[in-house]
């Protein structure tokens, strides 16, 4: 019994974080943001130069799973800032009452819509799109409907755990309204698998497990700029492309409220925004001083952009999720 107590105690010690001298700001984000090749390391280095603190990114799956993770821990969480929700989740996140106003009103955002949400602050945006390899797909579809009619294999993300997956739900709903069920019926036999997050899906596409992957119009810029590979492209769809605006907010129960404010302020400054295009491969929320990097001009620009307000998105999400689950589980 003594051994038993001893090893339980040991386990408890091992799970407790080691005490730090500098204050630690914990930011919960999605996997690809915190990864070695994402914005995480550069943002950490840049912010730590100014804050006399330690910035700690904790990755927890894809964007939509972040919200569930915060609810799982409730007010006891060590997390100070959540970075990586989007407009489709804002209503649900606000309803948890776990987040607090940012109080930042003087930023000149380069967003396609006016931003006035008091709790959530945008850090980047983009258009969802299906990305393919020009060498294997010679005749890409020009709409969600024609994609469903083709025999192309696609990988998408689960709308319950991933913001792109949720984005596709919104895309279908906002473009097709009452006909959204038909579109999903059409897509259903094209789907190889539904992944938990964007990273998994994009990895599968790059490994050749599918012809197209749900990603962003900006994804080909990564291959062009970072890998000097012009073979990837995003298919332009006639019905328009749904937009994503990615946001962050601080938690009401944060034990580092000043540092959290400082971080949010940093997030909309040039130091953070200039890192975004070539690490997160999205459009920055505020145009950096040097403008967009070369290569971004080669990207497609949707003739029509679709987006729901936070409240519309909340309704569309419940309805769309039920429909999606019913059709895809058959």
């Amino acid at each position: 019994m003594k051994q038993l107590l001893f090893s339980t105690a040991l386990l408890a010690i091992a799970t407790t974080a080691v005490a730090q001298d500098k204050p630690v700001l914990t930011v919960l984000t999605y996997d690809s943001f915190a990864s070695d090749w994402g914005p995480g390391p550069k943002v950490k280095a840049a912010f730590e130069l100014t804050c006399q603190c330690e910035l700690n990114f904790v990755a927890a799956g894809d964007g939509a799973a972040l919200l569930a993770r915060i609810q799982l821990e409730g007010a006891r969480s060590d997390v100070d800032v959540v970075l990586g929700l989007d407009t489709n989740l804002v209503a649900a996140a606000t309803a948890t009452e776990l987040f607090q106003d940012h109080g930042i009103n003087d930023v000149d955002f380069a967003l396609p819509i006016v931003w006035d949400n008091p709790v959530f602050l945008p850090f980047d945006w983009g258009y969802f799109a299906f990305v393919y390899d020009k060498e294997t797909v010679s005749n890409p579809p020009n709409s969600l409907r024609s994609l469903g009619e083709s025999d192309l294999k696609i990988v998408i993300q689960d709308p319950r755990s991933s913001t792109p997956g949720l984005g596709l739900l919104m895309w279908v709903k906002s473009a097709y309204g009452d006909q959204s069920g038909e579109i999903w019926q059409g897509l259903s036999d094209n789907i190889v698998t539904v992944t938990k997050g964007w990273s998994e899906a994009y990895g599968m596409f790059l490994e050749g497990e599918a012809d197209m992957v749900l990603s962003y119009t900006t994804s080909p810029a990564y291959h062009l700029i970072a890998e000097d590979d012009a073979s990837k492209a995003a298919a332009l769809f006639d019905e328009g492309h749904y937009m994503q605006i990615e946001v962050a907010a601080k938690l009401a129960a944060s034990d580092q409220p000043e540092l959290a404010d400082q971080f949010l302020r940093f997030m909309v400054s040039d130091g953070f925004q200039s890192i975004i295009p070539t690490t997160n491969w999205m459009y920055p929320a505020v145009v950096p001083e040097g403008g967009l990097p070369d290569g971004f001009d080669t990207l497609i620009t949707p003739p029509k952009s679709l987006i729901y307000s936070a409240d519309e998105a909340a309704d569309a999400r419940d309805e769309g999720l039920e429909e999606w689950l019913a059709i895809l589980s058959q």
Binding site: T8, L11, A12, D31, S35, A68, L72, V192, T193, Q330
Partner: protein
Amino acid sequence: MAGHSQPVVKFWPGFVAAALLAALTLGTLGAVAVRAEGWGVLGPADWAAIRFTVFQALLSAAISVGVAIPVAKALSRRQFLGRKLLVTLLGAPFILPVIVAVLGLLAVFGRNGIVSVVFGWVGLEPIQIYGLHGVVLAHVFFNLPLATRLILQGWLATPSEQFRLAAALDLSAADLSRVLERPMLRDVLPGAFMVVFVICTTSFAVALALGGGPRATTVELAIYQAFRFGFDLGHAALLALVQFSICAVAAGIMLWVRVPHASGVGLDRTVQRWDARGKVSGTIDAFWISLAAVFLMLPLFMIIARGAPGILDLPAHIVDAAGRSLLVAFTAALLTIGLALPVALGAVGLRRIPWLAGSLEGVGYLAIAASPLVIGTGLFLVLFPIANPVAIALPLTAVVNALMAVPFALRALLPAVAQIEAQYGVLADSLGLLGWQRVRWLQLPRLRRPLGFSAGLAAALSMGDLGVIALFSDPDRTTLPMQMYRLMAGYRMDEAAGVALLLLALSLAIFWIFDRGGRIDADR
């Protein structure tokens, strides 16, 4: 007055352990039931998950048992170099971490795996592993060996005189099958089928890694999704009740059809079969044995081949995760013994009060029908108001892992305790060797083997477990199987293979150390 000299109160540790076990299984189920939404809320996707759970389990059990029949038959009557190794290997999947096997299967059957490459040479499309067939494939990989062992036992239990008699009577193959084989199979197959079925209904890690979206989701996976994706506690609790019902029904059927006992004793010999002398039957047997051997060994070989180059320079966070996993495994092993031993001692010591002994034993076996995710959900509901579940994820994992290993430990300990009591009980009573003294001087020294085996099993199962940790894990403070799953999900397959090899080695080593420890200067 032998047997009455030990009063009921002397067995209080057994009752305490049984109360803890009941709290963890029935108590968490109660918490879940209180919180669950009404049955009416089950949507089409939930029904699809229920159908998929049952269907894939039926299919997995049918294929595992169907293939196991010819393999066991071949093994029962052929002696060849490596037979002993193959039979030993048939016992290995039990302690093989699921996620490691999945990676090995991907390397063989995935889109870039060996089979697809070979298909490509002859102009065939690569195969697709995600979805129903991937899930069933992985389940067959794990359960074909178990089914083979169970059926092999049946074949070897048939007295060789009967085969000799059949040969003397010059029975045809069809007659032999009618008179000897079919009755034996009728006896053994239902039990083997049900064991595999029950194991497959609680599948989580396989469905997590190889499921193909809402179309290939098990109920366990749906619980995880309701929890981690939507934080819909009422729905998670409802699904947990569904999962418990499936397990309870399956376990009920299992009690009803007799389950054969896979002791592993005597599997090293073959039966002399006069009907096996023909060339055709020799070729058929060789085919089945090679098929099973290649199917079981190739994925493991791929893990070793792909993982070996990277194992020496694994990053620090992987080494940390390995340390945490070892700590969880050791804790789980101690907890398992701490729970199972008092229950076993109580159940045997109180055998003169059958209802009491029976209840103790019954509570010990409850965990068979429990699902880790149901317990995890229940624990969360109970603990959430008082603690941050993410901060205590590792102790929770150790507790749930320990609980799941208790039935196996009881199965090893109960007969051993009963034998000691039968041999030395009267003598010990007459010497007044009671309570702790009796445990210390009489039982513990003689229980080293089953204790070592149980602890090893619990530690190895815990080491490779990817279940309840997925509910609460924090990526920075997680276990080795969880880290491995993350690497796989991110398609970093070479790194994942290195971690897989480490995990495999640690699981086998930890089992071996405990099991060996139990055998050192064993009381013979």
